[in-house]
Structure formats: C-alpha cells, structure tokens
C-alpha cells in the first residue's frame, strides 16, 4: 500500500498502546505511515517522543469538538485533511464503535470492522478476516486499495511487526474547528461491580456461559464450585439474562481475574470474555460444540454437555479416596 493512516487517541496523558502496535504493523505493509493522534494536552512532548520509529508523519489533531468526538465531528475533521480514498486503521474499541461506521460514510470509503488479520496482494486488493457467528466462522472480505477503507482492528489481531523507522516523524499540528453533536459531561464512572465475592482473589473459578445459564444449571455450577472450594463466574449473556449479577462477569466490560484453575462450561470463549483472564490459569473447557473457540485457548478440552459433566465432577471431587490417591507419589 502507498499510504496508511492510523488513528490513535490520548489515554490519560499517553498514547494508547494498542494504537502503537497498529503503527508497528502498518510500517510493514505501507510505504508511508501517518499517525493521526487525537490529543488534548497542551504539551506535545509525549506524542512526539512516543511516535519516534513508528511512523513517517504524525498529525496531532486538536480542537474542542474532538474531545470524545462523535462520528460527525471526527468525520468532518478528517475529511478536511486527508486525501480522497484514504486507508485508515483504528483499534476496535468503544471509540471506534462509536465513530468508525459513521466516519466511513462521511469519507465515502468502505468499512470493515473488528478484523483479526489483513493481507495485501499485488493486485492492489486487501483481504480482511473477521470473526462472525460467535467466533465460529472466519469471514474473508476483499476491498480494492484504490477505494480506500476504514478498518477497525480486533485486540486479537495477528499481524507481524514491520520495520522500526530510523528517522523521527515529521510532526504537524492540525487545529480543527468542528461541532460535536453530543456533550460528554461525565466520564469514567465505574459501573457497580460490587458483589458477594471478589473474583480477583479466587483461585479456582467455574465459569458458565450461555449454554449453562438456566437456573438449575447455575445451581449445579454453584454446587460444583463449592466442591472445588472456588466460586462461579460467567460471561456477559448470563448477566444480561439476569441469572447472575454484574460482579460475576469476567471480560472486557466486567472483571479481570487471575485464578490458578479456570473451568469453563457452556462458554464459547469469545475474545471479549477471554480478555478478562490474566496470568496463566490452567483452563479446562467443557462445550458441546467441538469447534468452540474456547478449545483454542484451553489446556484441557472435553466435548460434552456442561451439566452432565458437572454432575460427574461433583461425585469425583467429593470422592475422598480419590483425593488421597491423587496425592500418592507415582
């Protein structure tokens, strides 16, 4: 590709790390990489220093309407400064979901969201792969590079790092006047994650998903967790169904955990859920679907109905003779 723009944003007083990793990838696929940074602080030392080696040019975009911008404001700002049919990369986060689709309409370029891999070929076509149907399907899309594209990139993206650029980027400050149609008056209010158990401190977690969310299945999971001396946690659909509280949700929009054992039952293993697993837990996955994405990440896999498996597991965990024999040296 000739030129790729990477859209980054300010997080606290720094540049978002995932945006930097996108820049590193872009240097391997484009002749010219331009970092477009939405920056609010007065001082520019931080972005200038952080972008060294990552891009040929850095545009520091500033302006009142770009503080928590909506698509109309961001689209207006970008359309005034980019050439026709630009190729944009942006990390698929809450800002990208808010603005990406609308900006693509305003810039009149195709839009592909949440991709996990990208390949360019000599025919000036780009192939983009994204996960669909709950991660069970890889959908391959093709776009013509000459038409540009706005691409949001998943946190699960797999792309090699390009070259580190020797020269410092040319820094251009672009002050834009755009109107933000929304007013952000409060941010970073923590959702109420308080509950009866602090999942972050639990060493043995039994996670249930959509396939184990019926009340009797959750009661079975609670009984098993008791036998494991652990606790039950869950993926988002279980909370949405009102079966467990928000405090039990693990994932991007829930709690991060770092147990020793993670027993996942009836849970597909979406990226959004697995992002909440920290450290190196020993993952045991039980799912009826042999193609469930959870089996890619798990250490041990069992293709079975979660409830049927837990009934057997309770018996096995409560078998004290087995507990003694498992401690005997072999």
């Amino acid at each position: 590709m000739n030129q790729v723009f990477v859209l980054l944003r300010q997080v606290q007083h720094d540049i978002d790390e995932l945006g930097l990793s996108l820049l590193a990838f872009a240097t391997g696929i484009a002749d010219e990489v331009v970092a477009v940074v939405l920056w609010h602080d007065d001082r520019l030392e931080c972005p200038v220093a952080r972008l060294r080696g990552y891009c040929h040019e850095a545009w520091i975009m500033r302006g009142e309407g770009l503080f928590h911008p909506d698509a109309l404001a961001l689209g207006a700002a970008l359309s005034g400064v980019v050439p026709p049919h630009p190729v944009f990369l942006m990390h698929h986060d809450s800002l990208a979901m808010d603005t990406g689709p609308g900006v693509s309409v305003i810039l009149d370029v195709p839009f592909v969201s949440n991709i996990v891999s990208l390949e360019s070929d000599s025919d000036r076509k780009t192939r983009l792969v994204k996960k669909e149907y709950g991660g069970q399907v890889d959908a391959v899309y093709e776009v013509s590079q000459s038409l540009g594209c706005f691409i949001t990139v998943s946190g699960a993206f797999q792309g090699s790092v390009g070259k580190v650029l020797a020269q410092a980027p040319r820094v251009v400050e672009k002050v834009v006047r755009v109107v933000n149609s929304r007013r952000c008056w409060l941010r970073n209010e923590q959702a109420d994650l308080s509950g009866d158990v602090d999942l972050a401190k639990v060493e043995r977690l039994l996670a249930v998903g959509r396939g184990m969310q019926e009340p009797e299945q959750i009661a079975l999971a609670e009984e098993t967790a008791l036998a494991m001396a652990g606790a039950v946690c869950c993926s988002r659909p279980v909370v949405d169904a009102g079966r467990l509280g928000k405090a039990r949700q693990v994932g991007i929009s829930g709690t991060s955990v770092s147990p020793k054992i993670y027993l996942a039952c009836g849970l597909s293993g979406s990226f959004q859920h697995m992002a909440g697993l920290r450290g190196a837990p020993f993952i045991i996955a039980v799912n009826k679907n042999p193609r469930a994405p959870i089996f890619e990440r798990a250490d041990i896999g069992v293709v079975a109905d979660g409830a049927e498996f837990l009934r057997e597991l309770i018996s096995a965990l409560n078998d004290k003779s087995a507990a003694v024999s498992s401690k005997q040296p072999s």
Partner: protein
C-alpha cells in the same frame, strides 16, 4: 416520542456447530429468531413510549422469513411494521442506505438499533445510518433517560466504565444487551398482531459497495487443548485430579 426500531432476523445457531456449504454459511438450514440485541431494542422503545407517549415503528431489512420478527414487534406493542425486502446477508452499507431512505421520509425522535447482529457481528449499521441521516449517534448504550434537551445516555466503555452524554434529538442509539429486561410476548398480543398489516417497501437503488465477501470458513484448528475422550465419569475423575493438583485443592 416517535421511535423507529431497526431489528433483524438472524439464524438461530445457539450452541450448534455452524455449517458451511460452498464457502458460505448455510443460513437456510437454521430456524430464525430475533437478533438478541434487538429484543432489548423493542423493550426500550416500549419502556420509553409507556413513560412519555408516542409511537413505535418496527423496521427490518431481509427476506420473507424476516417477517416473523415484525410480527413479534407488533405482538409486543409496536404501532407499525415496515418490511424492506432484500437478501438477509446484504452488505451493511446497503442495508443502512435502504433504512435511511425510509426513515428520512418520516418524523422521528429516536432510531434504536442493536449494538450488533449475532451473525455478522459488525456493529456497523447504526453508526452508518446516523451519518446518512446527519444526526447524532451513540453506541454501546446501557441507559436512556428522556430530558428537556433530548436524552441522557450512558455508554459502556472498556473496563466496566461508563460515559454519559447529553444527546439532542433526533438521534440514533445502538443499545447494548442488558439495558433492560425484555418482556415476553403475550398470547393476546400474538393474536392481535396476526391481523395487523405489514407495509412492504422495495428498497431504493443504492450504489454498490466495495466490500466483497470472498468466503466463510471454519477457523483453522488450533491444537491448544488436550482433548479428553471416552467415558464421561472417567474424564471427570481425571479433571478432579487436575483441579486438586493444579488448583492447590486439599
């Protein structure tokens, strides 16, 4: 409030293995259902109109089987249902353009969409639609409150944190699951909905989009997990042993 709900009929895959035939998901082999996020869309529209008055128009783009989701919307209490005929797997940009062509001809305060569809999972149509209509948009919305200036919305962002925005109307909001508790459809509602008329609209010609679906394929099998096979009881004994040893369980 005049509310337009954009809803979608999707294949009901549930926990089944997705079948791919000739490099495309075999959509026709599955029963259909209302997209999960859209259950919350209809409930939120009902909640807002019960509080503040107004009407609900349910709008879908899809094939003839998609009519069921409009019947469901009518059974729940939607005032009107509009069907845009087209292929279920149409490109989001073309779907958004077709929806925008219908919506911009009517008076509306709010357009509600789901955060994403369970099949394509693109989270695209709502944002595109807002830009085409030239109105404000907020995604991942987990709370909506009517105010004098419009609506106050809370968005869910990373780490379980929330952002609050004042949004003037008209606007498009895409709603996250869990924003409310969707009600069940009553038998009386189903009987009433059966007699209501669904307005069929042929989409206006929209320009071609430059995104081409090349293929669907199963992800490459990654040898991550050691798969335990055989008698479930024996597997459970083995797993119990692992939990004791690796989990530090006495």
């Amino acid at each position: 409030m005049e509310i337009v709900c954009c809803i979608k009929s999707v294949p009901n895959i549930a926990d089944e293995e997705v079948q791919i035939v000739h490099q495309k998901v075999s959509v026709g082999t599955y029963p259909r259902c209302l997209n999960e996020c859209d259950r919350y869309v209809l409930e939120e529209a009902l909640r807002l109109t019960e509080l503040h008055g107004g009407s609900i128009t349910a709008l879908t783009f899809g094939d003839t089987e998609s009519e069921d989701v409009l019947r469901r919307a009518l059974a729940l209490g939607a005032t009107e249902a509009v069907m845009l005929n087209g292929p279920l797997e149409e490109e989001p940009r073309r779907v958004a353009a077709a929806l925008a062509a219908v919506i911009r001809r009517r008076h509306f305060d709010l357009v509600l969409t789901g955060a994403q569809s369970s099949d394509r999972q693109g989270a695209e149509v709502g944002g595109m639609l807002a830009a085409m209509l030239g109105v404000p948009f907020a995604s991942l919305v987990v709370a909506v409150e009517r105010k004098e200036y419009g609506v106050l919305v809370h968005r869910e962002i990373e780490g379980g944190e929330l952002e609050a925005y004042e949004v003037e109307l008209p606007a498009v909001l895409s709603l996250q699951t869990g924003i409310n508790t969707p009600r069940y459809v009553s038998m009386r509602g189903i009987r009433k909905a059966a007699t209501k008329t669904i307005t069929a609209v042929t989409p206006e010609a929209v320009p071609d989009v430059a995104v081409r679906l090349v293929e669907h394929r199963h992800p490459p099998t990654v040898v991550g997990a050691k798969m335990l096979c055989g008698d479930l009881k024996a597997i459970a004994v083995e797993v119990a042993s692992m939990i004791r040893e690796r989990g530090g369980l006495q």
